[in-house]
């Protein structure tokens, strides 16, 4: 005899449809591509805090889906996180941890710490076994000082003085490895980050458009959106375009007139029936 008890929802992904999806793929179904961010994201520690940087291109395969996408996400007033990988995953995971941090701030009455954000992110990503495709550069300044970490989709983390992630990470890292040193000033830090992101923008096809920078120091965070715009459109026709009626061929026309409006009765008692 079968007992119909409701299993408690355990959270995590449900893999029930996997066999059916595999069958569909075998029969030739084209899955829509995920929007990935391609991406170059970087972070470095300088003498007074951390600087984070990111490009602004979001791609869907070979097509640019968004030319000015924000990849530096808010986690806490003193903690920001750059995200590479599947755009939906980076947004969702940073929003979720940001909310958790806020609740934690209310519960503890203290400023959030970067290691807290780090632990929340890594345990979430580990529990999803890499299916949440988010590669993050987490940086911030708390009571224990400046911190910079990288978080990988499977849940591992590194603590580094300078870090790069995304498809443009090699191009950016080549800049950091040549020019990074301890004790950079704020201006030097921002310039180096911008140079690393530009290396990704110009040498990696998955990254492009503009440079976003975020500087986090003790008690102050500056989010410099579109710090550099090195890619203006090179040509625009001065003639412009006019679209006259008839330019796009009308193949057929069908007109269906709208039904005459039903008169509304004043003081109708429909609700009381």
């Amino acid at each position: 005899m079968g007992r119909m008890t409701e299993l408690p929802t355990k959270g995590g992904f449900s893999f029930d449809l996997c066999t059916r999806n595999d069958m569909l793929l075998k029969n030739g179904l084209q899955m829509p591509p995920f929007r990935k961010t391609g991406t170059t994201i970087v972070g470095l520690v300088f003498q007074d805090g951390v600087v984070l940087g990111a490009d602004t291109r979001a791609t869907e395969g070979p097509i640019v889906a968004d030319k000015n996408f924000e990849k530096i996400h808010f986690m806490a007033p003193n903690i920001y996180c750059c995200g590479a990988g599947t755009a939906a995953d980076t947004e969702a995971v940073t929003d979720m941890v940001s909310s958790q941090l806020q609740l934690h701030r209310y519960a503890t009455g203290r400023e959030s710490r970067v290691v807290t954000a780090l632990t929340l992110l890594k345990s979430h990503l580990f529990s999803y076994q890499g299916h949440v495709s988010a590669a993050l550069v987490l940086g911030g300044f708390d009571v224990t000082g400046p911190h910079l970490h990288t978080v990988y989709p499977h849940g591992s983390t590194d603590t580094l003085p300078f870090a790069t992630m995304g498809s443009g990470s090699l191009a950016a890292m080549s800049v950091f490895e040549s020019k990074y040193r301890e004790g950079l000033t704020r201006e030097e830090g921002i310039e180096l980050v911008a140079e690393a992101i530009c290396a990704g923008i110009f040498n990696d096809l998955g990254s492009g458009s503009n440079v976003d920078v975020c500087v986090i120091t003790e008690g102050k965070t500056e989010y410099l959106r579109n710090y550099q715009l090195p890619n203006p459109r090179t040509y625009i026709s001065s003639k412009g375009y006019t679209f006259v009626k008839g330019q796009t061929e009308v193949l057929s026309t069908k007109i269906t007139s709208i039904q005459p409006k039903v008169e509304a009765v004043e003081g109708g008692d429909a609700m009381e029936e």
Partner: protein, 221 residues
């Protein structure tokens, strides 16, 4: 990586466009050569001058494209020796089609657009698939950015259906400068949205006075 298993090709990206006018032909292609997410060079020409009045633009696998251009140039030289004249655009069109079909079972991974002037001096554009199916048209585009560009050309250069009778001219009534302006604008737009198109645009204009080359800087990201 490219030779994993038996996969013999590689796509080096890029986009080509050609527009036929009343007494000119514009052929344009970007100069970016890429593989995967990397740029190999920002300054590689995809356009080959085959004859006085014939220019070929190809995108796809550059290894095959180099071989194809070399093959056609050699055949053209032979033709000149045998017939004591340059090949006309329609003749070259047929030769290209035959060359591509010759390798029907191990194709040239090349997407071609042939442009030039026909025997009457009118603009002439032929568009091809990888195995040689071709058609004379008023304008065409091939390559990674082609699906971004073709609808705009369809809208601006309304080409009459080839099925209409009496046969209507497919060439555009636009002037040469207007056509070049359209090509520049359309490439700048394709560069915004296609990661494989960019760096520089090479524009070749063929008219009665010969072949003229022009360049336009495109976004490098």
């Amino acid at each position: 990586m490219a030779l994993r298993g038996d996969w013999m090709y590689e796509n080096n990206g890029g986009t080509c466009v050609a527009i036929a006018g009343i007494d000119y032909c514009v052929v344009a292609a970007d100069t970016r050569l890429s593989v995967g997410y990397n740029i190999l060079t920002r300054d590689h020409s995809k356009i080959c001058s085959l004859a006085d009045k014939v220019v070929l633009a190809s995108s796809g696998f550059q290894g095959d494209i180099r071989a194809l251009h070399k093959n056609l140039a050699a055949r053209h030289l032979l033709y000149q020796h045998q017939h004591n004249k340059q090949m006309s655009c329609p003749a070259m069109g047929q030769l290209l089609s035959n060359t591509l079909y010759y390798k029907r079972f191990f194709p040239y991974y090349a997407f071609n657009v042939l442009g030039g002037l026909d025997n009457e001096g009118k603009g002439c554009v032929f568009t091809y698939d990888a195995v040689g199916s071709y058609e004379r048209v008023g304008y065409s585009t091939q390559g990674s950015g082609s699906s971004l560009i073709m609808p705009v050309l369809d809208n601006q250069l309304k080409s009459p259906s080839p099925l209409l009778l009496p046969a209507r001219d497919a060439v555009t009534p636009l002037s040469e400068t207007e056509a070049v302006d359209l090509v520049k604008d359309v490439f700048a737009s394709a560069t915004e949205r296609d990661i494989y198109t960019g760096d520089k645009l090479e524009i070749v204009v063929i008219n009665a006075s010969g072949i003229k080359r022009e360049y336009l800087e495109l976004r490098k990201d």
